[in-house]
């Protein structure tokens, strides 16, 4: 295993005096790894995301990304949430271009290289199946399409770390599986590091290299599980016995967490 890209050393975070939201997190993620965090609701998964991207500082312990301690918001990450959060006054294309207007060094080149950037955005939109929708406004798109655009926006500036906070949670089952494959293909092609927070065990098992199971609040990592299925994985495998067994095991572990 290569050197850790993201590492957490004894990290705890308390938002207020009511106790830790997450506690004693020790883990390391290597570059290009796809990790998923699952756990009961309120277990601090989103808190973990905020720590990882530097939106929040830990109360104790240190978070390191790419060999350096995280002190403020990272600039090498992209983020997508359960809500697509697209700006309704911008077209899909302009929404996807937004990060390039903000991230250094692109923000200073934006006017000069606009044509080139638009090319990137169109290409990315095409790979997620949104060709022809570039000039539509977000509210003209379906929920699944908005989420595709949101993922494009998270990736346009070629981040090394992609943070996904239940990105498929609000979608119907068919669209969700479709988007798993979209994400899988994007990841296979570019191999950025992904941190995926989800409630969906099948999603975690299908997409991730490593699944972390978290306990109830205060959130701790209680299990680290490598998913040893060969890649590239076909969606059909999720309906086969070995995969179903795996999900069953994960489910049993979550069940234990919830009952304690």
């Amino acid at each position: 295993m290569s050197a850790a890209f993201v590492s957490f050393d004894d990290v705890s975070l308390a938002y207020d005096a009511s106790g830790n939201a997450i506690e004693d997190i020790n883990l390391s993620i290597h570059e290009g790894e796809f990790v998923a965090f699952v756990g009961p609701s309120g277990c601090g998964k989103s808190t973990f995301m905020k720590l990882c991207t530097g939106l929040h500082a830990p109360t104790t312990g240190t978070v390191q990304v790419d060999g350096e301690a995280v002190t403020g918001p990272l600039k090498i990450s992209g983020m997508a949430f359960q809500n697509a959060n697209l700006l309704p006054w911008r077209t899909t294309l302009d929404n996807v271009l937004l990060p390039l207007e903000i991230v250094k060094p692109y923000r200073h080149q934006f006017r000069k290289r606009r044509e080139e950037f638009v090319g990137w955005a169109r290409k990315l939109l095409k790979t997620v199946g949104l060709e022809g929708y570039e000039d539509q406004y977000p509210w003209q798109l379906s929920g699944g399409m908005q989420q595709r655009a949101s993922i494009c926006r998270a990736l346009i500036h070629q981040p090394r770390l992609l943070m996904l906070d239940e990105p498929f949670g609000a979608l119907d089952a068919f669209t969700r599986e479709e988007l798993w494959c979209v994400l899988r293909d994007l990841w296979e092609a570019q191999r950025f590091t992904v941190v995926l927070v989800t409630h969906d065990l099948r999603e975690a098992a299908f997409l991730a290299d490593t699944v972390y199971i978290m306990s109830r609040r205060p959130g701790r990592v209680i299990e680290r599980r490598s998913i040893e299925m060969p890649r590239p994985r076909a969606l059909e495998t999720t309906y086969e016995k070995p995969f179903i067994d795996l999900v069953q095991e994960l489910r049993a572990q979550i069940g234990e967490v919830r009952s304690t």
């Binding site: 949430f81 006054w89 990060p99 207007e101």
Partner: protein, 256 residues
């Protein structure tokens, strides 16, 4: 069928207006109200024609003082709204003050303004300004202050500065609030101007109505009222159209 419905919908405001005029005329005639108390619609219309010269002159005075006051209100309202809305601390600090200020009847400022600036256009402009900037400040500040935290996070993980977030997301997002407030503000600005003119001016529709009233020429007073509301309606409609053009994305689904 649908075409007819749409036509009726478009005509509805005009039908209502005509109905109101008819009720007015019929009521005044039926109860035989003397014209120095409540002139009929016909007498008001006659006054409007007879005195069209002076009315036009005074309307113009009212119109441009209102617009200057309104312009000041927009400029100050936008800047103040932006400053207050961009910081949680300032928002909490200033909001009660603004509410308190807004609760003061603006006519109470007129004597002060007269002492400072004498009678004439300046108090009218300033009264219009004082009365109309509040809704603009509140709307812009609220638009900025109610930014979704997720949206902010999306930009912050990209290394966006506070100013980036405000300019890229906060400001465009508050534009519908801003344009909605313009419609309210322009009608309030007319109120401010006319109030000031009635007590501290020798020109403008407010002055015209005051002096006509003192001579019991009620037809002319009512003509003045009509002119004010007509001007306010036209300006309101203008800003409503502007709002629709500028922030169509916020009114989606209404035209389908």
């Amino acid at each position: 069928m649908t075409k007819n419905n749409r036509l009726i919908e478009r005509l509805a405001p005009w039908i209502a207006m005509v109905a109101l005029v008819i009720i007015w005329e019929v009521t005044v005639r039926a109860f035989d109200v003397p014209s120095f108390i409540f002139p009929s619609a016909l007498e008001t219309a006659q006054a409007l024609v007879t005195y069209s010269g002076p009315i036009a002159m005074h309307s113009w005075q009212t119109f441009w003082t209102t617009l200057i006051g309104f312009g000041l209100g927009v400029a100050v309202g936008l800047v103040l709204g932006f400053i207050i809305g961009s910081s949680r601390f300032l928002y909490n600090a200033c909001y009660p003050l603004l509410v308190g200020f807004n609760a003061i009847p603006k006519v109470a400022f007129v004597p002060i303004l007269v002492v400072w600036f004498g009678i004439g256009s300046v108090p009218a402009i300033l009264t219009a300004f004082l009365i109309c900037f509040f809704p603009i400040v509140v709307n812009v500040a609220t638009g900025l202050a109610t930014l979704e935290p997720e949206m902010e996070d999306v930009l912050r993980v990209l290394g966006a500065r506070r100013m980036d977030v405000l300019l890229k997301v906060g400001l465009p997002r508050s534009l519908p609030y801003f344009f909605a407030s313009l419609k309210v503000a322009i009608t309030l600005a007319f109120v401010g101007t006319v109030v000031s003119e009635t007590v501290a001016s020798n020109q403008g529709i407010g002055y015209l109505m005051m002096s006509a009233g003192s001579q019991m020429r009620m037809g002319l007073v009512f003509a003045g009222l009509l002119v004010i509301s007509a001007m306010a309606m036209v300006m309101y409609e203008l800003f409503a159209q502007l709002e629709k053009r500028m922030t169509g994305w916020a009114h989606r689904g209404q035209n389908r």
